[in-house]
Symmetry: C2
Subunit: 422 residues, 2 copies
């Protein structure tokens, strides 16, 4: 079972939109044991779409096409598919009725342009859309080999919500019921704080290319992740092997691994806090990002009640009682200032812990002593205050992101009762 | 001049990482008038990489390959390229010396595995890496037609910073100096608040598919953007036509268009505030996201000094003096509560404006009366307080994001002295 994922859209090949659909579809396909041969993206050009559909369908068993099903004139996927299949587009009256109902329920007439969204190539099956107006398409294109073989082509909208709804309700169930092939199971183990080659050294032969399960590293947003891929004939064997290799990674890295798969630092920290303690935040350069990360998690109200964004020196004084003297003497980006921010925030919020961040996010404001990226982070606990200076590489967004993540990482090790191992 | 962008990596086809490189490269290529025929992504599999390089280079003048240049065993791009070119890999002694120096300067021996990063196919040109350890590759692969023709292949690392550095210093200048071909100039006009088909109706024939410049719509993060693409033989004509069509879009949509290209709502709002007035924030469900957005902008300290995250009711009382009575009577997600949050935040921060947000971000907490997504946003000015109720669709992240953007949009119209037009 091999699949190709084809994304359609000028905005994608022009780089105006980042294609997140392909990554999501790939993740889901890995779970059902379907190997993805390639992602391909082409513009809203009927000939290019036709060519891409024809090329891809000759090489794979499943082709998932997203995008180009909108009501406007630059939406050409259904026409291109019809052409490749050699079938005219036909109106699905039942869906047209649904569409008219949908618009009426919002007190509007259906614009004439939406009619095309109820059309699919003759002989294809419609895929119901629970979140939008375009009908999806499920079609078969015969292949020369094996005899009687075909590529099954699913066309879904590019809007992530509609795409996901159709994939979950129709595409993946259809693929699962077809079954067969090797099973690939994957797990991703996330770390923060140490570089890729440093981790690779600790992992040693676990990273050998010919190993199965394989272990590879990727970096995204400062998070270095190990991806463990196990490819075996049975789900049971894949699962056991995946488990074994994952354990070996934990043996090599210990608590440097903070989470798995979809887990984030904020989630892991939240789980450690929940029902035991609370945290507050006092942010300067991160401007609310750390509080935002903590409250990314549903239910975070049980451990996060309030936080301060004290971006200006004056706000650090007025809202958090940082003294003018230490601001003058040491500057806002200094150990005494973050210590005072953390200490006072903890007391004022009545929280168990407080994290304070003050840094130079750039692009301006750096000096020889304190270059752009210099960040002080303090963690106040009932017993003490620790502060740490980091110099983060990258642009303003990266510095702010890494500073907030470092604060979460420091809190995590504190909650684990460990020294920070980097 | 046509290009294909090829990305290499298991993590990409497995969906563990979203490919942002291709979008960035595409954006830059559009500026130098190079049409992107396709994006292609394949796994860390030498045969698949070879096949993709061979296929793509037969169809385009420029092939930009990113990824698979790391020091580990799953990095196979340089081997694959060597194989397609029919050339062995050769060590570039000068780069090896650089690498050894780099590691020594950090007080470490160079790991043996990094040696491969100084190797490139014989006859190819190295591309210097200012941000990392892998050498890039600049090679030519002959094509059957036209006679003497070739595809120029650039290989750069997948790490965005290294990729960007090499593209800007070597790849794009090389492509620009080759010149020729039609010029594509693009502009994106951003709106927030009205849906895609609503905008399409206002734009009318501007969105006709056969128009040049063309106007298309895309939606990302609640922002509906019009992209205007002008494809002409001269840069001058493309520029004039782009200008004219853009003006027609403004005529149709007026201030619904808040910005262009890389501009964000927070930037536009910042520009309106700068030197004139200040703003503070009081956030419940967005948990700091609005303050974070405002401080995304370098120099935002001139109009943003402080903000509060009052996630719990108790924090709304303690930090912002919201009375227990109205919290009890109306609930945290209500007009009286956001009004009190905004009024008091404005006074306590001494700011011209205050934005307050309280909503149900979900997934829990919704009721029949106040479903998930229900959000009250208040804007306090020196004269008055306006509040507005919205029900945002989507998951927790979307609700929080749209709520923060709506707050910025409301402030923008206030600063423009206009009624909100939706």
């Amino acid at each position: 079972m091999q699949a190709i994922i084809l994304s359609i859209g000028d905005e994608l090949v022009l780089g105006q939109t980042v294609d997140t659909n392909s990554a999501w579809i790939s993740q889901q396909l890995a779970r059902i044991g379907c190997a993805v041969l390639a992602h391909v993206t082409v513009p809203d050009d009927q000939r290019e779409i036709e060519r891409a559909i024809a090329d891809a369908s000759a090489r794979c068993d499943w082709l998932i096409v997203s995008g180009g099903l909108g009501p406007t004139e630059d939406d050409l996927t259904r026409q291109a598919l019809g052409h490749v299949l050699g079938e005219p587009l036909e109106l699905r009256e039942d869906w047209l009725t649904e569409l008219e109902k949908f618009f009426r329920s919002r007190g509007r007439e259906m614009p004439a342009s939406n009619r095309i969204q109820a059309m699919i190539p003759r002989g294809a099956m419609p895929i119901h859309n629970h979140a939008g107006t375009a009908l999806g398409i499920d079609a078969r294109l015969p292949r020369s080999s094996p005899p009687g073989g075909f590529c099954r082509i699913f066309v879904v909208p590019g809007v992530p919500k509609e795409m996901k709804g159709m994939c979950e309700a129709h595409v993946f169930p259809a693929m699962r019921s077809a079954g067969g092939g090797a099973v690939i199971l994957s797990r991703t183990l996330h770390t923060f704080g140490l570089g890729e080659s440093h981790l690779a050294e600790k992992l040693g032969t676990l990273m050998r290319r010919d190993r199965n399960p394989s272990v590879g590293t990727t970096v995204s947003g400062g998070i270095v992740s190990l991806r463990v891929n196990a490819r075996f004939n049975s789900a049971e064997e894949a699962s056991q092997q995946l488990e074994r290799t994952s354990r070996e990674c934990y043996d090599a890295l210990g608590q440097l691994i903070f989470g798995e798969d979809g887990q984030t630092l904020q989630q892991v920290v939240g789980d450690l806090l929940k029902g035991k303690s609370t945290v507050t935040t006092a942010e300067s350069c991160t401007g609310g990002l750390l509080a935002k990360m903590l409250t990314d998690i549903p239910g975070s109200s049980s451990y996060f009640s309030s936080g301060w964004v004290t971006y200006a020196n004056e706000a650090k004084q007025k809202l958090l009682g940082v003294s003018d003297e230490i601001l003058q003497q040491y500057g806002a980006v200094s150990e005494p200032v973050v210590n005072a921010m953390a200490r006072n925030a903890r007391l004022r919020a009545g929280a168990t812990y407080a994290l304070a961040i003050s840094g130079i996010a750039g692009p301006e404001g750096g000096t020889a002593d304190k270059p752009v990226g210099t960040t002080w982070i303090a963690l106040a606990t009932p017993e003490a205050i620790d502060a740490r200076r980091s110099v983060f590489a990258g642009d303003r967004e990266m510095v702010r992101d890494r500073a907030a993540k470092m604060a979460l990482a420091l809190l995590r090790f504190k909650l684990l009762g460990m020294q920070t191992p980097f």
